[in-house]
Subunit: 375 residues, 2 copies
Amino acid sequence: MEIRKDTAIKKKSINQVPGYRNFPMVPRVVFGRGSFDQLSEILMPNRKHSDAPFIFLVDDVFEGTALIKRIPLIFNDQLIFISADEEPKTEQVDYLVKRIRTDFNELPSGIVGIGGGTLLDLSKAVSIMLTNRGSAADYQGWDLVHKKSIYHVGIPTISGTGAEVSRTTVLLGPKMKLGINSDHTTFSQVVLDPDLTKGVEKTQWFYTGMDCFIHCIESLSGTYLNAFSESYGEKALDLCKEVYLGELSPEVSRAKLMMASWHGGMSIAYSQVGVAHALSYGLSYLLGVKHGIGNCLVFQHLEEFYPEGVALFKLMKDKHQIQLPTNICANLNDSDFDTMINVAMGMEPLWENALGLNWKKVITPEKLKSIYKKI
Amino acid sequence: MEIRKDTAIKKKSINQVPGYRNFPMVPRVVFGRGSFDQLSEILMPNRKHSDAPFIFLVDDVFEGTALIKRIPLIFNDQLIFISADEEPKTEQVDYLVKRIRTDFNELPSGIVGIGGGTLLDLSKAVSIMLTNRGSAADYQGWDLVHKKSIYHVGIPTISGTGAEVSRTTVLLGPKMKLGINSDHTTFSQVVLDPDLTKGVEKTQWFYTGMDCFIHCIESLSGTYLNAFSESYGEKALDLCKEVYLGELSPEVSRAKLMMASWHGGMSIAYSQVGVAHALSYGLSYLLGVKHGIGNCLVFQHLEEFYPEGVALFKLMKDKHQIQLPTNICANLNDSDFDTMINVAMGMEPLWENALGLNWKKVITPEKLKSIYKKI
C-alpha cells in the first residue's frame, strides 16, 4: 500500500521557520491537438549523439496502430511495448534498466513514456534508475534519490491520474507499494495532445477521470490545503464537472479532461487525499483492486464525509450509465476485514487531513467495517 | 511600445505540422506565508562557492524596512536598491551588468529580484546579460537569446503582472519598448509569500490586479485561445472576482491575488491580449502612462468589445472607491492622436486575437480617436 499523493512538508528549515515544499514543476510543456508530431523536434536538441538512443516505453494497446508510425525513431532508438494490465513493479523497472544497459554501451539520451499512469510511472522510474545504483525498491520512499535522473518525457494517452506532473512514481515492490517521491522524478518535458486520448474505452475514461475528481474533493475539503493547491484543485474540479456533467463536444471534452488531470496533479503540491483513498488502499492491498475503480467503489458510500462530492459522483455515474461492480467484499471473513481496516487505519496523514488531529474519535474499526461491508 | 503577452507560435515545425509553443515553466516554486525565510536554504545549494555571490536587486521602497534584515546576505553577496518609479530600461540593465562585472572577478551564483514587475523584469534581464554579449537592447524581440542565463530567483511583492511566470522581460530600449522573449528569461525559482504584499498601497493594488483581470478578459474572449490557456485564464479571472468583489479576509485576499497573478501569467502560454492593450500601448508611447493604470483608463470605455468584463470592472472600481484620472487626452492635438492611433493600429496580433482576421472592418482610425477622446 502507499500514499500516492504527497502532503506538504511540515518540517523545520535551517532557519527554524515552518517549511513549505519547494515544488519541482515540469520545466517544459507543449499543449495542443497534434502536438505529438512535434516530438521529433523536441527530442533533437536533447540527443547527446547518434549512439545515445531514445528509449520509447509504450503501452502495448498501441501495438500496430497508426500512433506507432508517428514515433520519431532514428539512429539506434528503441521502442519497447509494455502491458498496463498490471500495476508497475520495481522488478519490471530493474529488468528494463538491465536490458537498456546490456543493449547499449552508454546512457541513452532519454526515456519517453507514452501511455497512462502505469507507463508514465515506469518511465520516470527507469530514468532515475539509469543513474542510480541498486534496485528501484531501494528508492521507494521520500527523497532517497540523490543523483539526477536522465532526461525523460511524459506523453499521457488517458487523463486523470496526474502522473504527468507529479513528483512520484508509484511502484509495487517486494515489500510494499510505495512511490519514489523525489525532485528527480518529475518529467523533464510533457507533451499534452488531447487527440491521443481518442480511443480510451468508456469505463476506463470514467474511472481514471474519477481519480482526479475524488482527489480534488478530498484535498479541497481537507485541513492541509493552502491557496496554491486550492486554486489548482478548484480548477480541476470545475473541469471535471464540465466534462462529466456538461454537454461538451468530444474534442472539447478531451482537452478539458487533460487539463483537469494536469491541474489536479499540480494541486498535490500542498495538499493530501482523504477518506476514500485510505479505504481504497485497503481494498487494493487485500484484493488487488486497481486505483481508479477502487476509489469509486469506496467513494459512493462516503456521504457522511463528502455529501456534496458523493451526490455529484452519483450524478456523473448515472449520466454515463456506469455500473460499478457489487459484492466485492461479500465473501470476506473477519480476518480479511481486519487486514483492510489495519491498512486503512494506518494512513494517518490522510485521516488527519480529512478529519483533523482528533480523527480517531470518529474513525473506528467498526465504522470502517460497516463501510467495507457495503462494497 | 511592445506586445507584452506572447501569442502562440503559428509556425511550421520541421515535421510540417502546425507548431505549438513548447512552453518553459518555472522549474521550482515555493508557496506559503513566511516562505521568504526559506530563501537562505533555497540559495545554499546554488552557491557555486564563497567568491560567487548572490546579487539581490530590491525595490527601494523596502530600504530600511524589516524585510531587508531577512535577506540572507553571506560571503560577498551584494544588495542593490532600485527605484521602480520608472519602467525598466535596457541601459539600466547594461549598467547593472557592468557594475557586477567590475565588482567581481567571476560570474555571480545568481540574481534574486525582490519587488514588483519592474524589479522582476530587471532581474531576468540582468541574469541573461551576464552570459550574453553586447547590450540588452540587442536581445529585445523573440528568441534572440542563445546562451543560458545564470540562476535567477523571482520574489514578487505585489500581485497581478504575471512577471513571475512569464518568459519575457519588458524593457524600454533606445529604439523601442519591447520584451526579451526567450526560454532563458523564465525564472529558475520563484518564492510566493503572500505576506510580502502586505504594505501595498490601495490604488497600486487595484491597478496591478486589474492588469491580471483585463488580460484574462481579453485572452478568454480572444480567437487564439486553447484549453490550456483557457483553464489558467478562467481560474485567474475567478480569483480576481473573489478578491475584488468578494468579502475575504486580508490574509486570504492576498493569497488568492498572488495565485490569480500566477495563473494569469501561465495563461499567456497560448493566448494573446486584445483591444485594451492595443489602445493602452498608444497611451504609454505618447504620454508615458504606466501599464496598469493605462489599461484601466482604456478598458472602462470598451463596453462594445467586452460588455461583461467592463461591467465587472466598474463594479470593482466602485466597490473600492477608485477614482481614475480624467482628461488625460484633453489637451492633445490631431498629430498626438494620430501617433497614438498608429501605435495602436500596429498591434496586429492583438486585433486579430480580439476580432478575427477581418478586424480592419471594425477598427478604423476614427473609431480609435473617439475612444481616446473619452479618456
